[in-house]
């Protein structure tokens, strides 16, 4: 019992790779949904684990927080940005122009539709 409580208390946030996605959707559709109806999209995506598919438009790298992947967007779609989790080796093996499937937690819409704790699931 004590061990369980201790585990619960000290457990790190959920590992993105090991949990199942709640939703599977393209980055373009997610961005379009947020542009049209932010509140409705929050109801659908906020806090959920999403498998996002799309083409990488840009990768920004910062030492302290790792890489941010930006998916390709268009005029009808808000930009979708995923902050990738540091330390996952697979998260290093992609580049601009790749078509990928990334699993991540949706944190909402500010200037971009933002996801945290991203993990590369596969490259197409």
């Amino acid at each position: 019992m004590l061990a369980y409580l201790g585990y619960q208390y000290f457990r790190p946030p959920a590992d993105t790779v090991s949990i199942n996605a709640d939703i599977k959707e393209t980055a373009l559709n997610i961005g379009a949904a947020y542009l049209q109806d932010e509140t409705g999209s929050d109801t659908k995506y906020l806090g959920k684990v999403v498998d996002i598919s799309g083409k990488i438009a840009a990768i920004e790298s910062k030492v302290s927080e790792g890489k941010t992947v930006y998916f390709e967007a268009n005029d009808n779609s808000a930009p979708v940005a995923v902050l990738m989790t540091l330390g996952i080796s697979k998260n290093e093996s992609f580049s601009k122009g790749d078509s990928v499937l990334i699993r991540a937690f949706c944190t909402g819409y500010l200037m971009d539709v933002t996801f945290n704790r991203g993990a590369l699931i596969m490259k197409y």
């Binding site: 946030p13 944190t107 909402g108 500010l110 200037m111 945290n116 704790r117």
Partner: protein, 201 residues
């Protein structure tokens, strides 16, 4: 006699014209700079926003790497926003409790500080360090309260970097701490926006 006189007048005419041209050029450049400055907005969508809470039994800290910051030069408007679900904790349970029991981030997904710099921001930003007082309001957990803070802006060769820090009393924002948790969670929280490089919008 007439030739030397004409010779003297022509250079004077040229000097006057040159002065007028220089003056016009300076006025035009000045106007263009002012128009440019009037339209100028600076922003970042990668601001690191952290909060710290010190309590007798445990210190709590969390970091958000996707804060948004906008400064409008003409109006002096300053805005910082974060998505509450974007805060990362070392402990998963703490993160769950933060989102579900305290800030209710499904219901109130954003926190925003919006204010105006109390003094006139120069139209042309000179290199150097500025500390500006900003008066505005903080919205957290669906409740808006007045807040005055200072922002530090440093400019070096056109690169603008902003940072700020302020304290919040979470009780004022309707965030309830159960009595059993009072030793673990402080009602006073320090919010820090780390130095963030802004881009021109």
């Amino acid at each position: 006699m007439s030739e030397p006189l004409q010779g003297v007048k022509k250079p004077e005419f040229k000097i006057i014209n040159m002065c007028k041209l220089k003056l016009m050029a300076m006025v035009t450049i000045s106007l263009l700079l002012q128009i440019n400055a009037k339209c100028q907005k600076y922003y970042s969508k990668d601001a690191k926003v952290s909060f710290y809470s010190k309590a007798p039994l445990e210190n709590i800290e969390a970091h958000n790497y996707k804060g948004a910051c906008i400064i409008e030069q003409q109006t002096g408007m300053v805005t910082f926003s974060v998505l509450m679900k974007g805060f990362e904790f070392a402990k998963g349970l703490m993160q769950d409790h933060f989102n579900e029991n305290y800030v209710e981030s499904d219901k109130y997904p954003k926190a925003t500080f919006a204010g105006v710099i109390n003094e006139k921001v120069p139209l042309v930003l000179q290199d150097g360090k500025h500390v500006w007082k900003v008066s505005g309001s903080m919205t957290l957990h669906g409740i808006t309260k007045p807040l005055v803070t200072e922002i530090k802006v440093s400019i070096n060769k056109g690169v603008v970097v902003v940072e700020t820090a302020f304290g919040l009393n979470i009780i004022e924002y309707g965030i309830k701490i159960p009595s059993i948790m009072e030793e673990k969670i402080s009602e006073k929280v320090q919010v820090i926006v780390s130095p963030t490089q802004l881009q021109k919008l």
